[in-house]
Symmetry: C2
Subunit: 343 residues, 2 copies
């Protein structure tokens, strides 16, 4: 097994590229793919100040490392979800990464700042945990990015994540989500610009990148995400990819190239007002996040109440653990009403 | 387990309808679903003369039986493909069915009428067998339907078939195929009207229908179709359906309802001329079918020749055996250039 580039001993095969690579040229491949994605989709400009959503998993840490390598000015944002040891360990990986490199990492803890955590939210709202978790991440990421005046919020969604979300949206023909599944979202009133520079890398590749770069990361999957639909979609795609390498990329990029524009139907944001509590964009008086906070910080649910309506169209278990920290809107098939209405 | 309708003992559960049925009411369900599909998509009118493509498998025989039950004037068409015992047995089932009911069945044999069979075509063209088989069926079905002055050619594609074809077309974002994946194709110069009244029935249901109606059918899968991609797509969908009954129907009908029109881009047929040999529509001088016949009836291939260009975009293994006789164009992801250009 020889490196396609230098013919030296290879350390990894990338079947969808039908090629093997040595460590040096695999790392270069990763950098090139990220640079290409940024360029291809006009994600960010040189000199932009980027806020990287960091979970402590392979994707977000690889992303941060890659962006630094490529010369971008980045800070990180870690959101403590309060999921027991899983969150404690994840925080440690994120903090270690940042401190070893002298990078700035914002740490926000759901319980400290808002008085609840993901398990509490799940039990208070009687929704799947991914639902309140996704809503919380979207809100906090937006808030911190806007407060800090960053030019873009950067998330670690990789090719597997995006393909799995697309798969779910296609299986249900969620036209509004399909219309907006693009790796860049421009800034809008109340929303930062959002970009996904890892869309050209598979999760196996971000894992290998971390190993080769000596980056320690949270390898456990989120214990609260077990059985979510996103994981089933990933499995289905993996099965196809196994049989026919390159299928996943051709599915995702074929969509972007040929179908996305035809399925596009802009939804206006004119109808959005501001949340009377937090000021975030919302079609109602109080945004879904503030309703979640209210419910999750109230007395324990008695079981007699009806589930909180976090999302107008009901819960769609969102992102899987493989999605890293970058679990922002439009990628998990289950976003808040403000996102639905606005983007 | 009780029948949803009469509360008598049920003989079948239909998970996607979340209901069980006795024999009588299951058979009624099947008739109702076919009547509904015909109505929903304006497939045929009362009094139309229909030509049913019959393979001897469960779908096409159930379809023929259902159309007779619903009072339509139907003749059958069986095409002998020359696939050894499989074809011999299939013919017997089709002929038995017709003769017991006093129905008229056209029998065309590829070797008798055109001088080749599917195995010969596959080896002469060095393509997967499904490729030449699909092309042959499309051509002969069209020819016989037009010669006989039928109002429509009716094929036995069921929900599983259509969902699997859609799945393949979506995985590759074949925009031209997606734009035309509709259960009715209007007649056009050189093409009969084509309709698929089984789209609201799953293949498990057509099999149960045959069993309950005492219809003997070919239960073997085509020995030449093993490993084709269509079967892999069916498996992937079955996996999802298993987990979440109704997914397949929601995928297919969601597409028809919400996405098909947006993906539609009419392809003109103005550019089509007539084949100088058989008169069928073709963008070139000689149609793909006549090129196939020429190649398949010539001396055996030496192995030095290049594969016959049956399809401009290369071979896409088409329909699986589950698709019954109704393996007409636009449903197997691999249709001839004339179909591509014309429909």
């Amino acid at each position: 097994m020889k490196c396609r580039v230098c013919r030296g001993p290879a350390v990894i095969d990338v079947r969808r590229h039908n090629a093997n690579f040595c460590a040096e040229h695999f790392l270069k491949l990763c950098r090139d793919q990220v640079a290409k994605a940024i360029d291809q989709f006009d994600m960010v400009a040189p000199g932009d100040r980027l806020l990287v959503a960091v979970s402590g998993g392979k994707d977000s840490l690889a992303l941060w490392d890659l962006l630094v390598e490529l010369g971008y000015a980045t800070d990180g944002l870690y959101l403590g979800l309060g999921i027991g040891d899983y969150s404690d360990d994840s925080a440690r990986y994120a903090i270690d990464f940042a401190s070893r490199r002298g990078l700035r990492l914002h740490c926000v803890d759901l319980r400290e700042r808002y008085g609840y955590d993901v398990p509490t939210a799940a039990s208070a709202t009687r929704r799947v945990p991914c639902s309140g978790c996704g809503l919380s991440k979207r809100h906090v990421f937006d808030e911190v990015a806007l407060e800090g005046g960053y030019d873009a919020l950067v998330t670690g969604h990789n090719l597997d994540d995006e393909a799995a979300v697309l798969y779910g949206n296609v299986m249900h023909w969620h036209m509004d989500y399909l219309a907006r599944q693009w790796p860049v979202l421009p800034a809008a009133r109340g929303f930062p610009r959002k970009v996904k520079p890892l869309v050209r890398l598979a999760e196996r590749e971000t894992a290998a990148y971390c190993v080769l770069r000596g980056i320690d990361y949270q390898v456990e999957e989120c214990p609260m995400a077990a059985g979510n639909r996103h994981l089933a979609y990933k499995e289905a795609l993996n099965h196809i990819e196994e049989r026919s390498p390159g299928s996943k990329a051709s599915f995702y990029f074929g969509f972007l190239e040929r179908a996305a524009s035809r399925l596009g139907a802009e939804t206006g944001q004119d109808e959005l007002g501001s949340c009377v509590r937090c000021g975030a964009p919302t079609p109602g008086d109080v945004c879904a996040f503030c309703r979640l906070v209210e419910r999750a910080t109230a007395r324990p649910a008695t079981g007699a109440e009806s589930p909180v309506d976090l999302r107008p169209s009901g819960p769609r278990p969102g992102h899987g653990p493989g999605a890293g920290a970058g679990l922002a809107e439009r990628t998990d098939g289950g976003r808040s009403e403000r996102e639905r209405a606005a983007r």
